[in-house]
């Protein structure tokens, strides 16, 4: 009542910061992406669409898109699928479910950079625990598996420095880090499924667990899935820590792990090519914002913020 304009004092700081920190940079990026600006230069030339042209034609950036989309299209389905599988399994357990939940969530809590360094260690071609363990299996029944026999004979892969493996290993670490988060979201979603629905499904003749899953669980988890997929996409698009830890220069063997965030970092921060960096930023942002908008549109058909 007293002081009709008191709300201005409450929202002004937030709005100011929102404009300065979130909206203005978008504008800055958009403008710079049409210039050849670099820090330290007093002036910048207007170059039109040249930066975008480079990004969409040069092989370096072709590799960037390949690496980024490979990473996203591997990590998202795998971490969502594993998250769902783990959640369903844990949810149906009578005992020890909480222990698994805790363990699977640990990678989410740990600094990804630190864990990347540890993984690099574990995957070290000669002293790493992974290859040392794999070597021990040589000569056993495991050699039935062709790949395994071949590697036993010719030495196990170099993993991170092998052009054929690098992106997949980085993606594996992404999955390792992210699926616990998805699992927890799915577990939360599962608690929202009313028990009566399962009983009703049973009464209606859905006898197998698979039928009940298809009839009740999957549809009821729809909104969760939409959200989990979006957030996984956004997180995967933003992958940086592992790449920078493994390949501080150049983006991996044959640029096979040259993901977008790293490209921005390398071009703009390391090489001071702000125009190119800004162009990648703009493309990157349109991906991420487009995705979120798609998710909102999917969800908004059900939920409305009151």
């Amino acid at each position: 009542m007293a002081g009709r304009s008191v709300h201005i004092w409450f929202v002004a700081p937030a709005i100011t910061l929102m404009c300065l920190i979130l909206l203005l940079p978008i504008l800055v990026a958009a403008v710079l992406s049409f210039t050849d600006y670099s820090l330290g230069n007093t002036s910048a030339e207007w170059v039109g669409f040249e930066n975008y042209e480079k990004v969409f034609t040069r092989t370096t950036y072709e590799k960037m898109f390949t690496a980024t989309f490979t990473y996203v299209f591997v990590v998202v389905p795998a971490s969502v699928g594993l998250g769902l599988a783990a959640a369903l399994a844990i949810n149906s357990l009578t005992r020890f479910g909480d222990i698994y939940k805790t363990i699977y969530f640990l990678p989410v809590m740990a600094a990804l950079l630190a864990m990347a360094i540890v993984w690099e260690f574990a995957l070290h071609p000669t002293v790493g625990i992974v290859n040392k363990t794999l070597v021990k299996g040589c000569g056993s029944w495991l050699e039935v598996w062709g790949w395994y026999a071949y590697q036993c004979a010719n030495g196990f892969p170099l993993w991170l420095t092998d052009k054929n493996y690098a992106i997949w290993v980085v993606a594996f670490i992404g999955i390792w880090q992210g699926f616990g988060f998805n699992m927890v979201l799915y577990l939360a979603g599962l608690t929202g499924v009313p028990r009566e629905l399962y009983q009703a499904a049973e009464m209606d003749g859905a006898r197998s667990a698979w039928e009940r899953f298809r009839l009740v669980t999957w549809p009821m988890l729809g909104p969760t899935t939409v959200f989990v997929v979006t957030i996984s996409c956004i997180r995967s698009f933003q992958v940086f820590d592992t790449v920078e830890a493994f390949y501080p220069q150049g983006g991996g063997p044959g640029k096979s792990v040259f993901v977008m965030m790293f490209a921005i970092y390398e071009k703009a921060i390391q090489q001071n090519l702000m125009g190119i960096g800004a162009a990648i930023t703009v493309i990157f942002m349109s991906f991420v914002m487009g995705l979120t908008m798609l998710q909102r549109w999917l969800v908004e058909r059900r939920v409305h913020y009151s």
């Binding site: 009578t94 969530f105 616990g180 965030m261 970092y265 921060i269 942002m285």
Partner: protein, 312 residues
């Protein structure tokens, strides 16, 4: 007739019972396999942080290593007696972690940065959320749409223009550079607004009748009732910024005094040779441990906090 109808349910029950335990075992096998893979790097990290360089190289010594004394060459280089320079591997690893680089300083920086970020985020977000949820004013819907729009923007994605702006202001390599971009948490505003919507209007009216100012209502009525949501948000915010590597990497170049824990570890790795694997793993352990321990102590709250984004 009667016999068959009676026996049928009994039989199915026995069958499902048997199947039940079989599938349960299968599930456990799969989950344990998963757990082994998930825990592998944690095992490596912790184990190597205890071991001597030679044990790491040869992959021997089990989890803790044999803990045989070994010669610290650096110590001998300083001119000390060989006998004085014999150390237990795990002590060597952890003391080196703290002495070779100012790890304590890094940890303190981490605390300063994460705490300031959270504090300012709350200071900015709470009043705004209150005004959006509980006050009637013209333009409220517009501001809320702005909030919803800003939710779309991941701060990491606009790192480059932010960096340029900070560089132009001469703010790179300062605490401000680490903190400023995160002072506005649109998500925090959204989250608190949703929470405040559930606070009954009566409570606010009662506070007004009691003579509280609008400002007093925010900090004395809304804040205490919002503690659970705020705690969850705190965990969300602290975990994100303690572990953040990308942003500090960009704005802090060279000045070690401002390194956050991940930056410190990265620097360690940069000049690591064979001898330094142990101390490096010790550093990693030290950096990862605080959050893991906190998580173990308050699991439910942590999971709640981290999955908050699910409320969007």
């Amino acid at each position: 007739m009667t016999d068959t109808t009676l026996s049928a349910p009994a039989r199915t029950e026995r069958v499902t019972n048997f199947r039940f335990s079989a599938t349960e075992t299968l599930k456990h096998v799969c989950l344990i396999l998963g757990a082994v893979i998930v825990l592998l790097p944690f095992y490596v990290m912790l184990s190597y942080s205890f071991k001597s360089p030679s044990e790491i190289m040869t992959n021997t010594g089990g989890f803790f290593g044999a803990q045989e004394l070994f010669r610290d060459d650096y110590c001998i280089k300083l001119g000390n007696e060989v006998a004085d320079c014999m150390v237990k591997p795990w002590i060597y690893n952890y003391t080196t972690a703290f002495s070779k680089a100012p790890l304590l300083r890094y940890l303190m920086n981490g605390v300063i940065v994460t705490a300031s970020i959270f504090f300012i985020q709350v200071l900015v977000a709470l009043p705004c959320a209150y005004a959006l949820a509980k006050l009637r004013w013209r333009g409220r819907e517009t501001v809320f749409s702005l909030v919803l729009f800003c939710l779309l923007i991941p701060v990491h994605a606009i790192a480059l223009p932010l960096y340029i702006m900070l560089a132009k202001l001469g703010l790179t390599n300062t605490y401000a550079a680490l903190i400023v971009p995160w002072t506005i948490s649109v998500f925090g505003i959204f989250l608190m607004r949703q929470f405040f919507m559930t606070v009954p209007d009566d409570l606010i009216d009662a506070a007004r009748m009691d003579g509280m100012s609008e400002f007093g209502i925010i900090w004395q009525v809304m804040l205490p009732t919002a503690i659970p949501a705020l705690l969850a948000f705190a965990i969300f915010s602290v975990v994100a910024h303690w572990n953040d590597y990308f942003w500090p990497r960009i704005v802090i170049t060279g000045t070690r005094e401002l390194f956050t824990p991940p930056l410190g570890l990265r620097e360690f790795k940069g000049d690591a040779d064979g001898d330094n694997f142990g101390p490096m793993m010790a550093t990693a352990t030290v950096i990862v441990t605080p959050l893991i321990v906190a998580f173990m102590l308050a699991q439910r709250r942590f999971i709640e906090g981290i999955t908050l984004t699910g409320m969007k």
